[in-house]
């Protein structure tokens, strides 16, 4: 109960909790498409390429301070992750085999993006304490500008999904049939990947770019064990994400355990528990 007691005197507890909820909305809505279309690896690639954007923003702000004094590392991560999504959209799975091996292309961008980020940070003098916050999350110090950015990203994600849901569902069901109806599968796939990039950014301060993949996939995967339709899966995935970003955070408050890995471990344990439950049910 000390968490709620301390909230009155510590505004960062509010913003941390809010950040978790906003991230839950984004990953809860996008996760089911990611899991159904088997884009988890691609989501991981976008998150790691975003490290290149962090490094670029830190480097530009140092080298050209007069111009980029306003630039936050998260802005760089946002731009680079969206660009990465558009690049990765060129290896839409059903087009594999047109000269580029999708797996290799994703792996190359994943490693190169992250390497570029590390290089740019090394080229920037000083110790960059904030970098660790973006790599591993930092729920204890989420500021209001970050919350506002997350609100904006959530707004875009929910609005685009409301418009595109039927197309995304058709893409998940049968991309070839979608193409036969005259739709551009590549364009719809690219829109979905851009939304994944925005979701990655909303998750950055909650679990960090390194662990984004967990919240992008596990709540949706757990939801998929309870329902066999996409719309209820989205609703359940949001609820599970809210649970995962709230309960472990409260549970470890005041202890030496950081909330970010606690959230990821809780997600992993919940998924394992659901798998065990399903196996046990099948065995009976």
């Amino acid at each position: 109960m000390s968490f709620f007691h301390d909230m009155a005197g510590n505004p960062f507890l509010w913003t941390g909790l809010l950040a978790g909820w906003l991230a839950s909305l984004a990953c809860g809505v996008i996760g089911p498409y990611v899991v159904t279309r088997r884009l988890v690896f691609l989501g991981g690639a976008i998150a790691h390429i975003a490290v290149g954007g962090l490094g670029l923003a830190i480097f530009l702000r140092y080298r050209f301070e007069a111009v980029f004094f306003w630039l936050e590392p998260l802005h760089g991560a946002l731009v680079v992750s969206v660009l990465a999504a558009l690049l990765l959209a060129r290896v839409e799975p059903s087009r594999g085999g047109q000269g580029v091996d999708a797996d290799t292309w994703i792996g190359a961008l994943w490693a190169s993006g992250m390497a570029a980020g590390i290089l740019l940070i090394k080229l920037t003098p000083g110790y960059h304490a904030e970098l660790m916050s973006y790599l591993f999350g930092n729920l204890a110090f989420v500021d209001w500008p970050s919350v506002r950015l997350m609100v904006g990203l959530d707004g875009v994600i929910v609005a685009v999904v409301a418009i595109y849901h039927k197309r995304f569902l058709a893409l998940c069901l049968d991309a070839e049939h979608l193409r036969l109806q005259g739709f551009s599968v590549a364009r719809i796939h690219a829109v979905l990947l851009v939304l994944i990039a925005l979701t990655v950014i909303t998750l950055t301060q909650v679990v960090g770019l390194i662990l984004v993949i967990a919240l992008l996939s596990l709540p949706a995967a757990i939801a998929g064990r309870f329902t066999r339709r996409l719309a209820p899966m989205i609703a359940l995935s949001v609820a599970i994400s809210l649970f995962l970003t709230t309960v472990p955070r409260l549970a470890v408050y005041g202890s030496k355990i950081s909330p970010e890995p606690a959230i990821v471990l809780a997600a992993g344990l919940c998924y394992a528990a659901v798998l065990v439950r399903d196996r046990w049910r099948r065995a009976r």
Binding site: P32, T36, V161, A162, I163, Y164, H165, K166, R167, L169, A170, C172, L173, D174, E176, H177, L178, R179, L180, Q181, G182, F183, G224, T227, R228, R229, L230, M233
Partner: protein
Amino acid sequence: MSTGAPPSPIAELRGVSFSYRGGHGGWLLDGADLEHHPGEILAIVGPNGGGKTTLVKLLLGLLEPQRGEIRLFGERPAATRHRAGYVPQAAALDVGVPADALDIVLSGRLRLAPWGPRYRAEDLDAARSALDAVGVLDFERRPFGELSGGQRQRVLIARALVADAELLLLDEPTTGIDPLRERQLLELLAGLADDRSVIMVTHDLDIAFQHATRVACVHHRRLLALPVDPPPSAAEVIELFGVHLPSGAHGHSPNDHGRRVGPDGGENSAPGPGENPQAPGGDGT
């Protein structure tokens, strides 16, 4: 007797050659010609890997031929393929998809539906009518993965029907279906063919010759179309396709049901006395 011009073909191939190696050898089709007219049920037969499904994908513009010309409804397939309803093998869809039968059928209505998260009442009505037409309305809320093979195939046919397809293209519609369900499905297709054209890929010669108005065989890069009334004799089939049929082929007695062109062009049913158990090999893909 009418003296007017014959109706334009719905689907047309002229000198089509296709290879998965981009034209550098390995031709699957070479100089193929075909015309499919309104009201016809065309069965495309041939060995597995012989190019039947490739032919359908060429007709739909999902593949481009290296040589020749393809027309669908008189235009390039990419421009008109939305008027055709493609029914893949039920196994082509992941049974783990988070969707029920109604969701699957509604996805065939996407082109007619407005933007937004929900389908309109008229789309739902059309989807339910399509499910009803193929006899699986009772399963509209059952997850796709929990349906039987025959039910899944019917759901995919309903998805093709829901957008008022003028041409149905079915890829091995009876694969994995028990004989009773297979007969029901073929009766359903015969009924659907009353007001639309059908092209059906099958490796079952009995289905082809009993239910189609024309049969084309894809084999050894050739595409040969045959009328089924009267059907070719066994000797003609052997001569044309290199496929050996049991004596009395195309007599269509109930007892000879189930003859299938095997993976190599032979038949899966046991050969009779004096029959060649191994027909010439196919091209493979």
